[in-house]
Amino acid sequence: MALRKDHQGMAVLVDALIFLVALSILVAVVHSTTDKGTSDDRTGLLRSYHSVMLSAELPGEDGSSMSSATLGDYLIALSISGAPDEEQVERIEGMVNGTITELERTEGRTWLVIELGTLTFHFGSVYLEEGGDVYADRRELGGGSVVSTLFLSG
């Protein structure tokens, strides 16, 4: 009687351990699924901010033919005309700073890399945390003459 009771106790313990292992696997699956969803959300969010930023129109300037052009159009024009001067780079910075500020305020470290032909311009502070996730949204404009990549870390 005492031996049978002992065996029953062992059987329950084994059952409980099996249950615990199954539960651990389930938790791992749920956790990995949740992470993927978050990653998709952040990628989608980055894409939305990037689209809006590139579609915004330049500040009006008297007599400027580019006053109603979008930032994307302006970047393409600059890639054709050659190296942008300091004033043009400041103009780009003024157009992208708001988006970078918004994303840094709500999501994490954000920076933008614009490639105009062979030239590369960085806006915002590049921040790479060891082991941290970095999300990116890359756009090619003007047949690849302009590449704009928006990064989000964390």
């Binding site: 005492a2 009771k5 002992d6 029953q8 539960l23 969803g37 579609s55 129109e57």
Partner: protein
Amino acid sequence: MDREGVGGFLESILAVMVVITASSVFMVVLASGTLQVDGDFAKGDLISWLAENGLYSENGVIHMDGSNEDMDALSFPEEISGMTLTYRSSGNSTPIRSLNLGSRPLGDVLAFQLPLLIELNGRVVAGIMEVRAWH
């Protein structure tokens, strides 16, 4: 009850405790997962509703000189009784347009912000729509 019997009895108690602990963890995991799914669902519904009523557009432009006259006639999505919408330009915290719709907030508030293009003084600029909605 001899030593083996006592051992078996203690093992049974230990096993029951393990099962109870594991079940509790399981319930918490399930509950947290459910809450998150509900929140996402409500947000998606709300974004669709805002787009259908011309208050948000993913690819289009929202004009900031819109009238607020017809806003009282809006019927909210299910489980939403009121909301506030604030439009502003990106990187600038000064509101350009604010809408208070429905009843005053009661209980939990769902809050998020979305990027969008807004027309301001005849120019299309990068903007932000801040949404606060409640049941």
